[in-house]
Symmetry: C2
Subunit: 310 residues, 2 copies
């Protein structure tokens, strides 16, 4: 199943991190932004074109050292259908460069509606016999609040097209505990959701021990990361919250197994806006992203090695 | 707040129902579909154009008797960015006809990312000082699994632009109970989510007693509808599951208050595909939808009257 492809890319690049592409116009260097505004005016089209050029520049500098990108749908929808076109083109470009693509949409619904999401993001849509990609991601983040009816249609599509999903289990935000930490018969909601992931995953077994049903577990809760890593041995983790949100390399290292696999750690603004933090020339934004991606990789790989040397 | 506008439209049309626009190419009459395929080939563009024409035809026949439409994002994303362009144009067209628009996206995320969704679907996006609608819906369905961090950014945008949200509380599907019916300190998860809606809603009070934070409660669980109507006196309900999913008019009538307000009931396939059920001419698809919308209205209004005459 699809998580195998991700694991193989992680091993190949020796890098268990993913670059979050959550572009806002304010993150885009002036020279790119101004060119688009000059050409298309103060329009959503101009914004969308600027974001695409920004993303392509980043991908060009990242594709050989970072295994995956994770575009966050919200930042594309913010710029209307024109922004969503940029999402499509970003995915297409990253795939051509050989990257694995995790579409971060946290989609959720039931029955035929969830089937439509699965088809649009992971499968192929039938137009009069022509099978076409809506969006060609390898993996989609989803929300399991609706239960199995919301996940079953995804499993079918993942099985058919060799794709995967990441289900929200324990999110990285401060108020995640309002519901997720509450106890049901002695078990937290996130534990229960984790168990459901293990069960759903049985239908999509992978050759490295991890199923096609992964889980989102935040870097900001290292205790829970450690706990869930033990309780969810077949579930690959997508770990947000490193850097900007406060998660350190030591915190995220608990997400990994003894082989140093089992998780991928995301950084979005840290990588996209590295040029602002470095205070280097704007023309150098993509190279600054590359430097930060390397720093992050070494930081996390080092922390994993430390834990398993103990 | 925005639920006021919806309530006023419900009162004006004497119709507490919403037409779900969840168009798949297979629902579109041959004469519309073939025209688009002839012109644009077997492409996503052709599909998107056909869906738009289908939707416009439905809106033309519904706008004077039905207060709102509810386009389901999944069916548009299934047709790629071209489909999402049709979502934009459908919303624009319905708004021009004076309809209230509930964008059914069940979006969820945190912080700046949730802000991006809120901006894109309910607010306005800043492109070099030009404030533009990504998608111009009046209301967005959302998933509260991430807690207050996921809802607070929406409340800010709703307050600023006079918009509303519907939070998933008790969904209409058979497996909704896997998580939602579980008990936390003697309270079900859906009850807890309902209480959070009441709390979040305090920040968006409405002049008819209902806040800008509504709740999704399925027609297929009439007992829970009755229970939640009592426990959530300030929360307007969006009720899916009437018709195709098995909810009857009597079941949904429990969602309403003594004035016959407090809820809006959705039908999607029932209305969109009425012409298939009627077995009338395909050219007559929109008029068949109108007939079904009237039948549904009378069915539900009748059931509400019966309950409150008792």
């Amino acid at each position: 199943m699809s998580m195998d492809k991700l694991i193989e890319k992680v091993v190949l690049t020796k890098n268990p991190t993913v670059a979050g592409l959550d572009p806002k116009l304010e993150y885009v260097p002036e020279f790119i932004k101004q060119r688009a505004l000059d050409k298309y005016g103060n329009t959503l089209k101009a914004a969308a074109k600027a974001l695409l050029e920004f993303n392509k520049g980043l991908i060009d500098e990242l594709y050989d050292i970072v295994p995956a990108i994770k575009p966050q749908c919200a930042y594309y929808e913010m710029y209307g259908w024109q922004g969503v076109k940029t999402l499509y083109k970003t995915i297409e470009y990253a795939k051509k460069k050989g990257m694995y693509v995790i579409t971060d949409g946290k989609r959720n619904d039931i029955g035929t509606t969830m089937e439509a999401y699965a088809t649009g993001h992971l499968g192929k849509t039938n137009v009069n016999g022509n099978m076409l990609h809506g969006f060609a991601g390898d993996c989609l983040t989803v929300n399991g609040y609706l239960g199995t009816d919301g996940i079953a249609p995804l499993i079918k599509v993942c099985d058919k097209y060799d794709k995967g999903i990441f289900v929200l289990v324990k999110t990285s935000n401060p108020s995640s505990g309002e519901l997720q930490d509450k106890k049901i018969d002695g078990k937290t909601v996130y534990e229960m959701m984790g168990e459901m992931c293990e069960t759903w995953g049985e239908q999509l077994p992978g050759k490295y021990g991890y199923s096609g049903v992964g889980a989102v577990v935040g870097a900001t809760y290292p205790e829970q990361l450690k706990e869930l890593r033990e309780k969810m041995p077949h579930t690959f983790f997508l770990v947000p919250g490193y850097g900007a949100q406060g998660g350190a390399a030591k915190d995220v290292s608990y997400a990994f197994d003894k082989k140093g696999l089992g998780a991928i750690v995301n950084s979005s603004r840290g990588i996209m806006c590295a040029y602002q933090k470095e205070n280097c020339s704007e023309e150098d934004y993509a190279k600054a992203a590359r430097r930060e991606a390397i720093r992050m990789r070494d930081d996390i790989v080092g922390a994993i090695a430390q834990i398993h040397l103990k």
